[in-house]
Symmetry: none
Subunit: 538 residues, 2 copies
């Protein structure tokens, strides 16, 4: 039978130590629901009483009746004090959480330098605190801060901390590489030693300062740890915590450990992207397993091999983690990339088809003009669907005008005027913006919102400009890449022109067209008579 | 004595397989110079003859006389063909590179599925190709593609590939985890086996699909590999290649291996950020060792411990990799850089000087607003010269106006109107352009050319835009970097604003100011009486 590994998620606690992440109580509740569905065993929600958000979270999360064990985090009691009077510990037992994660020192240097107390008092602080939460009916998880540094400095003392914790009745003892400086072979050696001496189940909590957090977690499990602590997308202080989105598939797909069900595992990509949206953090496309580029293929040789057998250049089936294969159409690649892409979209395109040849010729031409579809999946999809007659023109541009003015003593002003036609109606709108692209975006949406109200739900997430032929930059062509997202998805579009504004407009229009694709699909589902997918054209 | 590890950088070859990275020949040359200074032993420049950029790179890099060995990449000869007639191999030996990295199959499945040839012919393809480049006086590096998957599937065949490669005279045999799916303990076991059987020095090349590329490289080295292949910032296909910015310090600071000198290691952060600028890729703040948050402390408890002793929450001294501790909001990358720069310009700037403190405060403020001077030397020089009273205001902007108009049936039009004052004279010019920046550039030069005729000799060579805070792209701040050049030199300037046009204008004006700096120096040399350097101000 497979060995069960307990997954302890600390996105809501250690994850919020990440620079730039700040979650409201509402955000935390949404994330907790998602984590529960993913099947993590523990959700560390925060520090009860440290701030109003965390108080609200612990109050409201009870009503959700989640299966995951809600865990409250806190410190062991203050030095030279009485446990029963410790307000932090009191708030933990009053939080309603079923488990308490208490952090204590296991590095003699820290006891002396940071805590400024005796080694013996530190042992008492830990032991008293564990007993206290146990007496109040909570499950007790001990986080041994800096355990690995502590073990290297004074193994006897570090082990005596664990011994006392076990005697006090802790349910889990978690070994933390708090500074993230330990190497995998050291983790393996030290965890093995601990497991041979301590009966309490052991957990492993690592940080990514050496880009080794995932490897260190695996080394810990291999040496006998049975709980892993980490965060979704590896959020956390400095370089982040161990990334559960990589750890879970590494344990479960590539080895024989069991963490969550296969069905839950197939939700991993969705969970990772959802939480990045809630946290308002850009999701790196290169992220292993769940990133947008994790199963993306660019080189022509790779692509032709993949068409023979995906295993040639994919280490797992992307679907097992809810991700999918993407073929990047670029100058480096051949037409096999385009065919595969069409296949992915369910379009009937083959080598002998006349339309296919035309299509490939057209894409080649566009690439020759400077378009690059490898970073602009959505533009490529629109192009292919259009070629297959799946898109209907819904609006046409009559004109846009843009006006930017700066005077020495006043702030710069940007105004856009957009004239479009939708069916027989002419719509003329004007809007201001922070900059020219924002002004155009505002004016265009203003024109379309009456027809497509959902257009206000998407937003532009990133914007990049690159000169294609650098030899004569401001007179040369530029390529604009826009990345957009809404709550469910993100997509990229491209525009090329010698004119920066025109290139931006083109990418902007594609982004909105793509966004409407989903909405129009829904409209058709409701009124199947209308047949084709109606979509704007520019 | 410390074991020496050979560093093989493939940023310019495998790194360009990364989604969204596209480097010009000029970009590649700049990166090569930086890599050479960092002290990497091999620079893999590309595939000679595969495209015009790579041809230009190999031609021009010879003139730079770099210490790193320039390496040309290619495939072993085609199946059932004669090595001497293989145009790819021919181009490699003609490239002028001192080393050839040839990739061949070592997984029987790939020989059958992707290559569609016999196992014996594959051995001959490899052996013939290695002999061919050796006969032409090149160092031969063999990249065993999918070696680990191959070994797991058919260890005898995988080892026979290495055996034949060694017999053919390869200088290095590199084991590649091409799909990135192998775990560290497997890497350790397989590399150990190879090292015990093969005399040729072994290298390790890993990918990050399991978030284990760095750990896998370390496992390889621990098992006896003596070359590591990777890229700066881990750029590469899908989830990226092994990240040299983490591997080098992990080997050299945390273990006893020797890769580059300590002085070179202290340039690591600078190199990583410079290359991310050239590649126009966002540098993740969380990146281990070299990221902006790698040594940033947010929690109050951590900060107070750190004030007692930095070792409490830092695994290494940040300075050893050229990074620095950040506590609270202290944005500046290093005031020592500013001092060094001032010294380089012959400005009398020291720590105790009141003006110096003011200057550093001002730069900090600008960096806080999103300016970045690492990629904009010329803007920094102007700032410093200005602070030291070395620049005189020659023109002031009264206003600019910009119109862009597009109608359905006509080409887009861009017009700029620039009103400036030079001394007592007001100059008002209008100009068209290919795009908005070109129109502004044209109008501004038209206004200045009567005073500074040489202004027509410079041109803008590259133009890059980056959204600083991606959360709300078209309403967020953008940073524009402009690179300009004339016959003798090239220089970079920066502009930041929520408005793309204003940011471009700012970088444009700095570029012209910097260009005039040289011209005005010459004017002063001819009329020494005038004293100060006159220069435009905006």
């Amino acid at each position: 039978m497979a060995t069960q590994i307990s997954i302890f998620d600390t996105t809501l606690r250690d994850g919020t130590q990440s620079e730039g992440i700040s979650l409201s109580a509402e955000d935390k509740l949404k994330i907790a629901v998602k984590l529960d569905r993913l099947g993590v065993h523990y959700i560390e929600g925060g520090i009860p009483g440290s701030n109003t958000k965390d108080i609200e979270f612990f109050q409201r999360v009870k009503q959700l009746n989640l299966q995951s064990k809600i865990t409250a985090f806190g410190f062991t009691r203050r030095k030279d004090s009485v446990t029963e009077h410790d307000s932090n510990l009191k708030r933990i037992v009053e939080s309603g959480a079923s488990a308490a994660a208490l952090v204590g020192k296991s590095w003699d240097f820290h006891v002396h330098t940071a805590l400024q107390t005796s080694l013996e008092e530190n042992l008492a602080m830990i032991s008293d605190s564990i007993r206290y939460v146990k007496q109040h009916g909570m499950e007790a998880i001990f986080d041994g801060e800096h355990f690995f540094d502590g073990y290297k400095s004074n193994p006897e003392y570090a082990l005596s901390v664990l011994q006392r914790t076990a005697e006090a009745g802790a349910d889990w003892i978690v070994l933390c590489d708090t500074n993230g400086g330990t190497l995998p072979h050291e983790i393996h050696e030290i965890v093995s030693r601990v497991v041979s001496q301590i009966r309490t189940p052991i957990g492993i909590h690592t940080h990514n300062d050496c880009e080794l957090a995932v490897a260190n977690t695996l080394a810990g499990v291999q040496a006998g740890a049975r709980q892993v602590q980490g965060t979704i997308n590896g959020y956390g202080e400095r370089c982040g915590n161990a990334n559960l989105c990589s750890i879970i598939p590494n344990l479960q797909i590539k080895q024989t450990y069991e963490c969550i069900s296969s069905e839950q595992l197939s939700q991993l990509t969705n969970v990772a992207r959802y939480i990045s949206e809630i946290a308002n953090v850009h999701m790196p496309v290169f992220q292993p397993y769940v990133g947008n580029a994790a199963f993306a293929h660019k080189g022509g040789i790779h692509v032709s091999a993949i068409m023979k057998d995906a295993k040639t250049y994919e280490h797992i089936r992307p679907e097992s983690v809810g991700n999918k294969q993407r073929v990047l159409v670029s100058e480096l690649a051949g037409q096999s990339n385009v065919l595969l892409k069409a296949q992915e979209l369910g379009l009937n395109m083959d080598n002998n088809n006349e339309k296919t040849k035309e299509m490939i010729e057209r894409i080649k031409n566009l690439e020759h003009q400077g378009y690059q579809f490898e970073g602009a999946d959505a533009s490529l999809e629109l192009l292919l669907r259009d070629a297959f007659g799946e898109l209907e023109e819904i609006f046409t541009l009559e004109s846009f005008k843009l006006f930017v003015e700066k005077t020495a003593d006043q702030a710069v002003v940007s105004e856009a005027f957009v004239k479009i036609r939708v069916g027989d109606e002419k719509i003329y709108t004007a809007a201001e913006g922070n900059g020219p692209v924002n002004a155009l975006d505002n004016a265009l949406r203003k024109a379309l919102v009456q027809y497509y109200p959902n257009i206000m739900k998407m937003h532009l997430a990133d914007y990049k400009v690159r000169v294609i032929d650098e030899k004569d930059a401001t007179a040369a062509k530029v390529r604009v890449l826009i990345e957009s997202s809404d709550i469910d998805a993100s997509w990229s579009t491209v525009g090329v022109s010698p004119n920066l504004i025109e290139a931006s407009w083109e990418a902007l229009v594609d982004s909105i067209r793509y966004s409407l694709l989903g909405e129009i699909k829904q409209q058709i589902a409701q009124e199947p008579a209308s047949g084709r997918l109606g979509i704007v054209n520019h």
